[in-house]
């Protein structure tokens, strides 16, 4: 089973996203900020990371930049999921190594569509 690390400081968002990700066939782990997420990644690198931007302790962009310098840290596919929706910020996230980007508010259809674009769905095409 593929693993997804869900990083968001909102418990409500984590709860909603976890359910969607589990429906997509992922085993889900949660972290509430970038530093906690780094600790997870150092223990066991996930296949996918769904990443909020604005969080206490360490934000999503700083986490992503740090992750990419870690051993094996270039492996996980990273999908941002944030209220940041300015094109300049989106470009910044892509330049730092994100492969897709979800603007909040989102729903199950959007998350599924974005995962399909990033090639992250087990049954490609069937779900699109």
């Amino acid at each position: 089973m593929k693993t997804c690390l869900l990083v968001d400081d909102s418990r409500v968002i984590r709860k909603v996203a976890r359910r969607i990700l589990e429906d997509l066939g992922y085993e889900v782990a949660e972290a509430s900020d970038g530093l906690e997420a780094l600790a997870w990644c150092r223990a066991a690198m996930p296949d996918v990371i769904l990443l909020d931007w604005n969080m206490p302790v360490m934000n999503g962009l700083d986490f992503l930049r740090q992750l990419r310098t870690e051993p094996g840290g270039d492996e996980p596919r990273v999908v941002f999921c944030t209220v940041e929706n300015e094109p300049a910020r989106i470009r910044e996230a892509l330049a730092a190594g994100a492969c897709e980007y979800i603007m909040k508010p989102f729903d199950g259809d959007i998350l599924q569509a974005k995962f399909a674009e990033a090639g992250l769905l087990a049954h490609e095409g069937a779900a699109a």
């Binding site: 929706n85 094109p87 892509l94 974005k114 095409g125």
Partner: protein, 275 residues
């Protein structure tokens, strides 16, 4: 709405646009006609129908028929047909056509996402001969849908269903809470109002016709004629792209399936277009 109201709506949709509306789906009828009733200053859909009976005005009848069409669409809907277009169909045509323009038609384009998806593929030019000319046309029966298509402005939900983020930042400008396609992509598409159930003999020639998830909303009796009208617009080496699970087979001899390519059909060389 009375059963007679529903029957009138169903009959008008079939007669004017070949649309198949299930009279049992009163909720669907209410939800599609509600906005029209409000625009026309009627208190309810039932009052709109009463007004329609009294006035019998063509513009109001057409507004009703157009409002009953499905506007469901998405950028790169179902993905695979667009990959086939990008990787196989367009490169092949660009070699064969030379300086002649390649003409693509998004038939039943609704609010334009399909036509613009094709335009973004054309813009990228992957695997295409230098100097290739690609003309993209979008048509729909609904004037309102075409107005939105032409404006090229979409909300955050619409740009997140099927559109890769890279294409969003490459081709869209953020305008307040919406996303507006760049003039460069908008200028690649020309828009026309076309009723597919009417005579298609004057539409012109198209090398590829996307007509996805349109037939399924048409009355069974109308489908063969629409498919044959589209076939008459295709050259012998042209392609028809239908929705997943849609097929012309059993309805007309005008096409043959392409093995291993779901939803993709070529003109049948044995089929002769009626004069």
């Amino acid at each position: 709405m009375t059963p007679e109201d529903v029957q009138l709506i169903v009959a008008l949709c079939k007669q004017r646009a070949g649309l198949k509306i299930d009279p049992a789906r009163t909720y669907l009828i209410e939800s599609r006609l509600g906005p029209l009733a409000r625009r026309e200053a009627y208190g309810s859909v039932a009052e709109l129908i009463t007004g329609l009976r009294a006035r019998r005005e063509e513009p109001l009848i057409w507004a009703l028929v157009e409002a009953m069409t499905s506007s469901e669409t998405a950028f790169f809907r179902d993905r695979t047909p667009f990959q086939q277009f990008r990787d196989e169909i367009l490169p092949t045509l660009s070699r064969m056509r030379g300086p002649e323009p390649i003409r693509i038609w998004s038939a039943g384009c609704s609010t334009g996402q399909e036509a613009y998806s094709l335009a973004m593929i054309a813009e990228a030019g992957q695997g295409l001969e230098p100097g290739v000319r690609i003309e993209i046309y979008g048509s729909d029966i609904s004037e309102r849908a075409l107005e939105k298509a032409q404006a090229g402005v979409y909300n955050p939900f619409e740009v997140q269903r099927g559109l890769p983020i890279q294409l969003l930042v490459d081709h869209f400008d953020k305008v307040e809470d919406t996303w507006r396609l760049s003039p460069r992509i908008r200028q690649r598409v020309r828009w026309r109002r076309i009723n597919l159930a009417a005579d298609l003999s004057a539409v012109g020639r198209f090398d590829v016709i996307f007509c996805r998830n349109v037939l399924c909303d048409l009355d069974e009796a109308v489908r063969p004629r629409v498919l044959e009208g589209l076939a008459a617009a295709l050259p012998a080496d042209g392609f028809l792209v239908l929705g997943v699970e849609e097929t012309p087979l059993g309805l007309t001899d005008a096409y043959r399936p392409i093995t291993g390519r779901e939803g993709l059909f070529a003109r049948n060389p044995a089929y002769r277009v009626a004069a």
